[in-house]
């Protein structure tokens, strides 16, 4: 596997973002290759909670999430599968007045972005959601939010990208990349030498490592949201549920399993393994029964986690490199990039093709971290 390859665009990372970018670029007739260390969608994109949620986001992310939400409806036409996406709504819960004020503020602000969020309190809360625990005092509902099966979405994008003509190399990590007058020179662990005019860094929790090769400094922390699933229970909770602050969130699949999470587990970046972490697992079980007491009779059958890059302000890096022309970054989604993935792919394709995006990206500029690594000088 030591061939040479000369491309318009090389992509490092086969999560939802990378696969979606590969799809759009290949559709526009560019020669594209994507390199994935393991298999497509095997990291954060494949193991996340499956929440497709706009409610509760930083307003700076809403233009991007709004754009992504439209694509979620179009998945069957785009990738040939709906990814089991269901617009079940997302109900965000308040456990005290301060939290209710947070929900109110979001609902008011979201309207400016065309995102409808309803306040639900008092009798209606108990009538519509009789399974809620007594500690919940109010909630807001975003009907257009929902949930999907993360295990099939990124692979679906990967396959669609292949069908559109992109080359997708799995089990082939990029060892290093540099840029000179002739463009990017990329070397894979398999010894393949690749040249490309444009390089896209969508390496997830490893995005800062790739950025570092070019002197772009981003302070990233790899974290591992703690996830659990119960045995099947009667199908009652049809909305995706979260709380202000996010210390517990839950959804139920039509098969009846309650999937829930909260807190951070642990990971080992050297071996690329992650676990839900027993302390967090036990704590999240307690928080779950606080909002869904009836789940207290269930058994947990599995816990798991993944590895996700978190930035200091919980906003991603999305846009051009400071140091290197032709280098684009999209990583650091800080625990909420599954919903964004489809739009991130479109935005990256726009940036490659036109140099700009119709979606405002200023808040995601890498420059906000102000750093250029000394090593690149």
């Amino acid at each position: 596997m030591t061939g040479r390859l000369s491309l318009d665009v090389a992509i490092i990372g086969g999560g939802t973002a990378g696969c979606a970018a590969a799809l759009h670029l290949a559709r526009r007739g560019l020669s594209v290759a994507l390199f994935e260390r393991r298999t497509v969608g095997s990291q954060a994109s494949g193991v996340n909670f499956g929440g497709v949620r706009e409610q509760g986001r930083d307003f700076a992310e809403l233009p991007l999430s709004r754009r992504s939400r439209r694509i979620w409806d179009e998945l069957p036409a785009l990738i040939g599968s709906d990814g089991e996406f269901m617009a079940t709504g997302h109900l965000k819960l308040a456990r005290d007045e301060d939290q209710m004020a947070v929900l109110e503020a979001f609902a008011t602000g979201a309207a400016d972005y065309g995102l409808a969020v309803e306040r639900i309190t008092g009798n209606r809360l108990r009538a519509d959601y009789p399974w809620l625990g007594p500690k919940v005092i109010g909630a807001t509902l975003c009907r257009s939010d929902g949930q999907a099966n993360p295990r099939i979405v990124a692979p679906g994008f990967g396959q669609a990208a292949r069908r559109a003509g992109a080359q997708v190399f799995e089990h082939e990590a990029v060892r290093h990349a540099t840029r000179d007058a002739g463009g990017f020179r990329i070397e894979t662990e398999a010894g393949r030498q690749v040249t490309a005019a444009t390089l896209i860094n969508v390496a997830g929790a490893w995005g800062a490592t790739v950025a570092g090769w070019f002197g772009d400094a981003v302070p990233i922390a790899p974290r591992s949201p703690s996830m659990q699933v119960t045995e099947p229970l009667p199908y009652r909770v049809k909305v995706n549920v979260g709380v202000v602050g996010g210390d517990v969130y839950a959804r139920q699949t039509p098969r009846g399993n309650v999937i829930f999470g909260g807190g951070q587990g642990w990971n080992d970046m050297a071996t690329i393994t992650s676990r839900a972490g027993e302390t967090e697992v036990m704590a999240a079980m307690r928080r779950l029964t606080g909002i869904l007491p009836w789940a207290g009779g269930a058994h947990v059958i599995r816990t798991w986690s993944g590895i996700e890059g978190f930035t200091p302000d919980d906003l991603p890096v999305l846009g051009s490199s400071v140091t290197t022309p032709g280098l684009l970054h999209a990583f650091g989604f800080s625990g909420h990039g599954f919903q964004l993935g489809p739009a991130v792919g479109e935005v990256l394709a726009e940036l490659v093709l036109t140099g700009r995006s119709e979606t405002p990206l200023a808040p995601f500029s890498i420059e906000r971290f102000g750093g250029v690594l000394a090593a690149s000088a």
Binding site: R255, T289, G297, T303
Partner: protein
């Protein structure tokens, strides 16, 4: 030096012998077992209130069963025995233990997994029909609850338990509708010299066949199961004989199985290295010659390390205990360890002969019909599994699980995993050892959320 905390998980022949050896040397191990009483699988005790004699319960093994139980009970306060304790996670040097609905965190310095094995099955049409049991399940029902799974029972599969459980049912007065072995007769004949050389244990195995014949029960060789027939409950068993002709036998229960598989999920969580064992056709935890895993301070013994029966389990339990003694600065164990090694060497030939006489019929897994349920927890059919493989191209079992839900349910693939791996390997055109191994995630068995509420809490 602070005395080390040694924890043994499993109070079967392996764990019991290990506890005895440690206690003899002044170490007081914590012994955890999720079962309410000690003894493990083969020497499982009857529930409180049952008063059947050892001879009735354990037959040939009565003396050994009684000796084991007596020896364990005699340990008394020299060990810290905690029955009914499910170990559901290992993280760092801690175990999470659920007992009587209360969770506890136990720290250890040395840990011995003597966790035994469970039935290995291959799904076949009708296997989820009420009245279909595993061979081990049928045996547990008879030996321990003193009830038979039916009045007229078919036994089939490829397992040393096959003739044994059929005979135990016949001896209990249950009508045995037939014993159907999926292994061709020639494999049995080829294994015969090894069985004969295996001393009394080998002869005992052969005597089961003779006694079945004496009772007029036919032992069929080289059959292929077709289906358990019946909607609400089993009414018959359809199979192809060695010549490929289809037959049907009326029955009201079926017991089947293909040997047993090691319970190594905890060792997996602890990070122990694995290897594929071609003889038993399954993954096992790698150990050195004295039971040390690849993780410092973690040891394995018994069927949880390698399927080899109760005698070997006890020997390897002692061996691991002596390795622990040696590793904690105790007296030299060289002489004792070489004695054990010699005794184990004598078992090796028989063990191989048994593996050959009752091989895992991988072809049956590969040929599971499309409309047969493969994963019963998630209700996924074999055809849906094959379709998911074709559609999304997984290259190993964890990926196939993610795409198809096979192995994502309550049992976490402990039941359907071996068959699913065979199907995937077939689709990939690779040996099953290259189809990967299902990763374990905590908890190793389902844990009740109720046990972790504020009032009860964990001891961490």
């Amino acid at each position: 030096m602070r005395p080390e905390t040694v924890i043994i998980v499993g109070a079967g022949p392996a764990g019991i012998r290990a506890a005895m050896v440690l206690a003899e040397h002044g170490i007081r191990p914590v012994v955890l077992d999720e079962a309410p009483m000690s003894g493990g699988q083969i020497f499982r005790r009857q529930p409180q209130g049952f008063t059947r004699s050892y001879a009735k319960l354990y037959g040939y093994e009565a003396r050994r069963a009684e000796a084991l139980h007596t020896a364990f009970d005699a340990l008394g306060p020299r060990i810290d025995y905690r029955p009914g304790a499910l170990v559901w996670n290992v993280e760092g040097r801690r175990l999470q233990v659920l007992r009587d609905g209360v969770n506890e965190t136990l720290a250890f310095d040395r840990l011995l997994f003597a966790t035994g094995a469970m039935d290995r099955v291959i799904p076949f049409p009708g296997w989820t029909t009420p009245g279909v049991y595993t061979l081990g399940g049928a045996q547990v029902a008879l030996k321990h609850q003193a009830c038979a799974i039916g009045r007229r029972v078919v036994f089939f599969g490829s397992s040393p338990l096959l003739p044994l459980v059929a005979l135990q049912y016949a001896a209990a007065g249950v009508a045995v509708a037939g014993v159907f072995d999926t292994t061709p007769r020639r494999a049995k004949i080829a294994a015969l010299p090894g069985v004969l050389a295996g001393g009394t244990t080998g002869l005992k195995g052969l005597s089961y066949l003779a006694r079945l014949a004496l009772k007029g029960i036919r032992y069929h060789h080289g059959i292929t199961p077709v289906a358990a027939i019946g909607d609400r409950t089993v009414t018959g068993f359809a199979y192809l004989d060695a010549g490929g002709r289809q037959h049907e036998t009326a029955c009201d229960a079926v017991a089947f199985g293909y040997g047993i598989k090691s319970e190594w999920q905890l060792a997996d969580l602890a990070g122990c290295r694995f290897a594929f064992d071609a003889d038993t056709h399954q993954w096992r935890v790698e150990t050195d010659a004295e039971g040390r895993s690849s993780v410092e301070g973690i040891y394995l013994a018994g069927d949880g390390a390698r399927i080899a029966g109760a005698d070997v389990a006890a020997e390897t339990g002692e061996r691991a205990a002596r390795a622990i003694l040696a590793d904690t600065g105790g007296p030299d164990q060289g002489a004792a360890l070489s004695t054990i090694a010699r005794r184990l060497a004598r078992h090796a030939g028989l063990r191989q002969a048994i593996d050959r006489a009752f091989p895992f019929p991988a072809h049956l897994a590969r040929e599971i019909p499309d409309d047969c349920i493969l994963c019963r927890c998630e209700a996924v059919r074999a055809g849906e599994f094959r379709a998911a493989i074709a559609a999304l191209g997984p290259d190993e079992v964890n990926r196939a699980k993610a795409f198809s839900r096979v192995g994502m349910g309550r049992c976490q693939g402990r039941v359907c995993g071996p068959a699913a791996a065979e199907i995937l390997a077939t689709e990939l055109g690779r040996p099953v050892s290259e189809a990967g191994r299902l990763r374990s995630q905590p908890p190793v068995k389902p844990i009740p959320i109720a046990a972790f509420q504020e009032s009860k809490g964990d001891a961490a």
